[in-house]
Symmetry: C2
Subunit: 455 residues, 2 copies
């Protein structure tokens, strides 16, 4: 699969100077990051945006490994045949209009399948959004060029998504909200040839990928998929679309997928050590927690210290923790002694630790630092759920000071963060740098911490 | 209770020019919006920030109805007695250090209780964050003055919160993210006298309040509370803290609450027509959906049209809908005919409506407008779940154009919104103006739509 991610040269069929068309976006995006030769293909132009344009794929010079096709579906099969004859290794078909639209599209897709089988040319798609590699800054996709104006964050989360629009939506949304650092995003569409098993294997061997999240409507080869997951030492998160009977019918018309029996699928995923997600953003949140936090210790039992500035938050945390199989750590005498140095005499420290009285007494920075260091060093604590309110109580700079002081025990610290909008983003950046996953909803923070300990 | 919200004059005991103290924040906040006379009380100063300061509550001139107390707990009971002698109608005790901190605090709280009983002076708190009225712009709270720098949004959601820090956190967070318009926010703390039943009744009679959300750790009078809820024609949402055994223990030390049997509580809430929430932000999201959307029709059955730009979103929506008791509307022939005018001939429109092919053909604005108007006019559709991706596909201005065209059928339109950060906020404002609640997670959007139809 490497030639798809790092081709020596790339042809773009359907490239156009019309800025309102996807074929323009593809050309624009490829030029932003890809450093090899780029060959627009369109018989109507000699040049597009200063690049020489070729009437057909057959005319494209060497070196060229991959073509991206964004032309009407009926023209795709012949063009794919040409790509095979021209000696390309792979094509990414981003056009729609195949199995997802009825009998005519199905027969087009069957032709694609046959050409791929006969020639050995690898076909990615159709009906997909291609691939994005954040480290290489290569975007082989018609995703809106506005992505470049936002601060793309590199990180350890890679995605495989069986949907075109959604992976674009995912990316733009997640990127511009500064939550998650991504490595590779792969939109597979109808999976006529290249499938989730191959890409998953590639990503599990990719040094930049720490966790893989997948949105799938079907499994091409369920047994092989579960086998790959069971042998992975990187965490894998799966969101399976089409769980309900109505959803399964809709999946049929979306990517022509047979959804399979949900109970069987869930059981197999759990057995293979996969974390199952139920919603799109939640899937990203789970991936982030599993990618950003340090790998769990062998002895971890899920005994959690809760540090909060609000008693109510502590109470509801414990409600969620009991629900999700985490336990409230019973703090050691040494920890309690350390806490007493910052707590007022009238308040004996107890887990969940409501630090507000200590914050009032010692200042938020001191109270939180002393408490966090004490619980991280406590052998009876496996992980920390930190509630933070940035802005009024703690600035992003303070948060950095606090997190810098955590002893390197490798214990996970997951954070529920509230505060005014502008402080939130800075604090997220700080937290990410220290391997602390940040969540905006308490339930989600506990859910991701629980997934971390299950893994 | 009206004098708490609209006092003729207000005294602030513990007022100080020291900007790092809560007593400064209270004075600052009160001065921002309250138009009646303000009397700082502190024996150490003649003047604070240009206002005459009084050595004791006894020295404060008329008119004065309410005092806010922010002084150390041991000094509170005597000061409350003075307030009664001075003829005040109520005090808001924002100081902590009462029942939540052990035997000494408990005896202080008992004294407060007795004084209130003997004198008839109403006591709000202690250990609370006071109250905020967004319409009157009165903030009787030590909440950080930074709230004034953000765009406070007025709206129909009122909150009653049995926690101090949390209501501040709630407010600042919700306010600065531009999601929810609030009317009144009431932080009750330990509820020594003023309780949730009285405030709830007040808010149900408040014209500016459309929906009330409550975070409670205990019910002062469960029977009366359920009775008020059962007779309310405004939607009520309750988040009950301390559901688990560990959470109940934590609630005991937080606001000294006996949490009660959760199953009994949940059953009674459901019977009283209350929507039960499970998390903080989710509670606000539920309130927002119930406050912003038009009141449901008598004939509403929860038959939903799903309008999406991503097949995957449609599929997962149907999964959630089946889970939560909503059904996929079977569209009328007339609606299908209208949709065919924007869909490409190779794609027969079907609910969930994947509009992407129609958007490519007609432009997003036309495709979405035609589809939304058709489903809203369809007698077989009770509500709409709209997926929107703003930015690349649709600008906030386009969204306005689309929503403006909705026929006034009174059918709820709930929106799952993705997109780049800066477009999101503008689009939220647009949607709110048209009574369309916006959610950032698909599951949440469906959950709130289901709560709307249950109500």
């Amino acid at each position: 699969m490497k030639f798809f991610f790092k081709p020596r040269g790339i042809a773009i069929a359907g490239a156009t100077p019309n800025r309102r068309k996807g074929g323009y976006s593809i050309l624009y995006n490829v030029r932003q990051g890809f450093t090899g030769p780029i060959y627009p293909v369109n018989p109507r132009y000699d040049h597009i945006e200063g690049l020489a344009c070729f009437p057909s794929v057959m005319d494209v010079p060497d070196p060229v490994d991959v073509a991206i096709l964004f032309v009407p579906a009926p023209a795709v099969p012949d063009m794919v045949s040409q790509c095979a004859r021209r000696g390309l290794r792979g094509v990414i078909v981003e056009s729609g209009g195949f199995s997802e639209v009825g009998p005519d599209g199905r027969s087009l897709q069957t032709r694609l399948h046959d050409i791929s089988q006969e020639t050995g040319l690898r076909v990615w798609g159709p009906n997909c959004m291609g691939l994005i590699d954040m480290a290489a800054k290569t975007v082989f996709s018609f995703v809106s060029p506005m992505i470049w104006e936002e601060g793309l964050i590199r990180g350890g989360v890679s995605l495989i998504v069986q949907s075109g629009m959604l992976s674009g939506g995912f990316l733009i949304d997640a990127m511009t909200h500064g939550d998650t650092g991504f490595s590779k995003i792969c939109s597979l569409g109808n999976k006529v040839d290249v499938n989730e098993c191959e890409i998953l294997e590639y990503l599990l061997n990719d040094d930049a990928t720490q966790t893989v999240g997948l949105y799938l409507e079907s499994f091409v080869d369920g047994r092989r998929f579960m086998d790959i997951c069971a042998h992975s030492n990187k965490p894998i998160v799966v969101l399976k679309g089409g769980k309900s009977s109505g959803g399964a019918r809709a999946a049929m018309s979306h990517t022509a997928s047979l959804a399979g029996n949900q109970q069987v699928v869930s059981g197999a995923l759990a057995q293979a050590g996969v974390t199952e997600a139920s919603d799109f953003k939640q899937m990203i949140d789970l991936c982030r927690g599993l990618a950003d936090a340090p790998p769990p210790q062998f002895t971890s039992q899920g005994r959690i210290a809760v540090l909060t500035y609000t008693g109510a938050g502590g109470i509801v945390s414990v409600d969620f923790m009991e629900d999700m199989g985490l336990t409230l750590a019973s703090l050691s005498g040494e920890t309690l002694k350390a806490l007493q140095t910052v707590y007022p005499p009238w308040m004996p420290p107890a887990n969940p630790l409501d630090l507000w009285p200590a914050m009032e007494r010692q200042g938020p920075l001191t109270a939180l630092s002393v408490a966090l260091q004490a619980v991280c060093a406590d052998p009876q604590v496996d992980g920390v759920l930190l509630h933070s309110f940035v802005g009024a109580i703690l600035s992003a700079k303070d948060l950095k000071e606090v997190l810098r002081g955590i002893p390197s025990t490798g214990k996970p610290v997951f954070c529920w963060l509230m505060g005014p909008k502008r402080e939130i983003r800075d604090s997220k950046d700080v937290a990410r740098a220290y391997g602390v996953p940040v969540y905006r909803e308490l339930r989600r923070a506990v859910e991701c911490l629980a997934a971390f300990f299950r893994h």
